[in-house]
Symmetry: D2
Subunit: 277 residues, 4 copies
């Protein structure tokens, strides 16, 4: 079991009102567990807190209040550090969060006491034109023009796999496999797998099938559309625009994210919960 937490950084949902009085509840829980809270400047500003939030890089743990989007922010922000993140779910999708909203106090109490498990998850390393980005869930190439198909050539490990007209292409980690990848017919990659799934969005071909690629093989995507640009997104955020002829490379990255979860909140328990509805 990990050491008890002494200092916890806080990341909250982009819209302050989404989490309601959760910050007060977190503060009470932290006080009860003798945990010091450290707020990044932007968080302190968002919540109109005047006091100095402390240095988040000193945190033993990050507590994220929000949905999967907030967790993705927290995980990306602390990528490359040894600080794990735990999520309290205030969103509609909570695959990455471990604690339901109404169990915030009890859940955090246990986490702060060190009663958690660490899950290491692979990330993606994406290069497009002159931009580089890490992604926790997925990297997506999609048409920049609404209603216009694109044509993408693709290769894996240096071998050409031809080209396809489609709306886009998704490269997903195991944690991302149950998000946009699943919506497009991609497989569920059980956590623990060191691989990425490649799935097309609305392929105008009968032959496209989802592929699962092991670490070590790069995916290279080329925009072969003569007159439409391709937008590259990492975890849902635009990070590059790929002109006709331009390429994007995606590989499993050297970084791993660290997720702190309650022992009972396993991959499969989340899977059942999220998709039961």
């Amino acid at each position: 079991m990990p050491e008890p937490v002494r200092r916890a950084a806080v990341i909250t949902h982009g819209k302050r009102e989404t989490i309601g009085p959760a910050l007060d509840r977190l503060e009470a829980a932290a006080r009860a567990s003798n945990v010091e809270l450290l707020l990044p400047q932007d968080e302190a500003a968002k919540h109109d807190l005047e006091q100095d939030g402390g240095d988040p890089s000193q945190a033993d743990l990050v507590a994220a209040l929000g949905g999967d989007g907030t967790m993705l922010s927290a995980l990306r922000r602390f990528l490359g550090t040894a600080t794990p993140a735990v999520g309290v779910n205030f969103g509609s999708v909570g695959f990455l969060t471990s604690i339901p909203e109404d169990e915030l106090e009890d859940g955090l109490n246990r986490i702060f006491a060190g009663e958690y498990e660490l899950v290491e998850l692979p990330t993606l390393d994406a290069h497009a034109v002159d931009d580089r980005r890490d992604a926790v869930n997925d990297v997506v190439a999609t048409s920049s023009t609404l209603g216009r198909m694109i044509e993408l050539a693709w290769s894996v490990g240096g071998e050409s796999l031809g080209s396809l007209r489609c709306d886009g292409l998704i490269s997903a980690t195991p944690s991302g496999s149950t998000a946009y990848n699943l919506s497009n017919g991609g497989p569920v990659l059980v956590w623990g797998l060191d691989a990425m799934a490649v799935t097309f969005v609305a392929p105008h071909s009968l032959r496209a099938r989802p592929l699962v690629i092991p670490r070590g093989r790069d995916l290279v995507v080329t925009n072969e559309t003569p007159d439409v640009w391709v937008t590259a997104l990492a975890d849902g955020h635009v990070f590059s625009e790929i002109p006709p002829g331009g390429t994007m490379t995606v590989r499993l990255g050297p970084q791993r994210t660290l997720l702190a979860t309650l022992p009972e909140s396993t991959f499969f328990s989340r899977y059942r919960q999220t998709f039961a509805g």
Copy 2:
């Protein structure tokens, strides 16, 4: 067998260069068959033709030079008239066209002689906010904001079918069933069926399945996303923007398009040809 053609209207691909010298070839073929060509003003202007193009509404037939997009324009333009359209394929997708590019002369010669079959195809009648549009292939509701999911509630024939988070929703006629609908896992509706397919684009739900709906039942789609607008497209062209809370209604319309095809160019021969690659 239909009467021989005496007057043919001409519709060409949006980009003049796509069809190359095809207009000259069409003119020669028309001369040989004693057929008068009638150009709509916009077509005459596009091809720098000074002479008066005649009145296209007097045409016995429309000849479309281009791909499926050009055929869709031709079919929509003559919707509600008794004038059928025949297509010569200069595009990458030619499901609606009947004559391959290199058989233009022979194919049109046969068509002009009345050696063709008429195929009636149902259309869609779409209302969104204050806009109305006919569609030959499909009506699509899609997120107006790149990278943002939408939530759509939907009902069929007055019965609610719940709501789904997704990228969009497609309502397709039989002719549209092999286009965007097929790319999203929808079924092929054999020509002759008087029905529409409803298929979600990237549904974030395990339960969404394509539905085939007979004439007489309206599909009503409501944008339940609090903060994202939904764009409505008919045959790939934007015709309305649906605000949060706004709705779109799609039904099989009273109009039918008229396709003139060579007898050997059946639905299944096109299907095999288009999807063999």
Copy 3:
């Protein structure tokens, strides 16, 4: 609203114990509504009833106690008559039944009073080798040898669609579309559609897609496997064995089944209920 029921035939689940004391409950409900029950001989024998069951062909309605399998039996048995069937669901799947088990008394009371709607559903007419069969839900061609793939050639309306290696092929009516067809990726055909879906079982091809075929076009399936026979099933019951080179023809048949349903028990309410779990 239909006339009140005076005489009702009874069909029960194959295993007497599945419906428990339901027959007694049905008898009580019939007495209360002044309805005479007519038992086919096999039903009377199964339930050890000595009295003469009357002539079921005189019935105004058939009451089926069981699941969808029992309803299929009832519908097939009364095919070609004007007698509708209503189902009380004692099975695990109740798409065709209208009354939940625990609402037997109230539901039948309303049905007996004529408070029901009539739904006409198309059937399939299947010929294989020298055998002919009507099917309410589906006709399936499947390998007769466990673990051995078959190769099927197929044509629709006289046009060849090639051949495929697969485990089998399903031809489904709208009522059958939510059964085995759906399990194999076929579309949901909304009741009211006069069409059949054709879906392959485990096609060893990337190009197979479900097709929806309007009335009037025959599906012909040929067993092209050199050394494996193909078993033909109608509504789950084997009715023919097709040797190498033999064919099966399936078309929408002239007969229609008549379903009596409570007004609130619509297609979509069943759909939601059945697939909510």
Copy 4:
């Protein structure tokens, strides 16, 4: 580059006539390369060869003449040894074979000279009732009774994933992922991945999705059908019958198969070739 081959064992298609004069061609090629051929007794008998076939366990390589079925036999037969297998394709499916039939001489000449690459592929270790079996491609649990659905409960790594009515369940290695798994909507696992895919056959549920499971987590499948047995197959061969209540366990096994392939015959070149048709 591996050492040149001095002794090669031979495995041929089950039906002698399938490979025609290929054995003679192989013998000529072996003589030209100074390679001694070693025939297992059953092979010598099948081909009416009187001479002693030598001891196959002394072989540097196995040459398989046939399709994927023959390769699977060869790979299973030499499982646990250091002897790789190379295939010449005489079958309709040749995903595991490296040499097309008409390039037998040239291909084997290069292979015998050591011009090949070794591909290690994971295998499955399956236990059902009292039976155990290794599988190179896949382990399948399927209804023992034609036309009868089964109900399977399943768990992964000790966690229950519920139960499903279906026709069966497939557990596939990367080499098996492009076989029966792909026919049932499972993903392609690129060679090099140390994982297995789990895919249901005709699941009567809207929620079943293919899963990819890393090494170290066992899949346990329980036959929950009250009255139907489940047949267990490894690489298409029945190896056990599972009664109601009985279980089967499948895991990635300790053994790996060794495939010898021509350098240009990569995973993706086979993938394109096999699925181009």
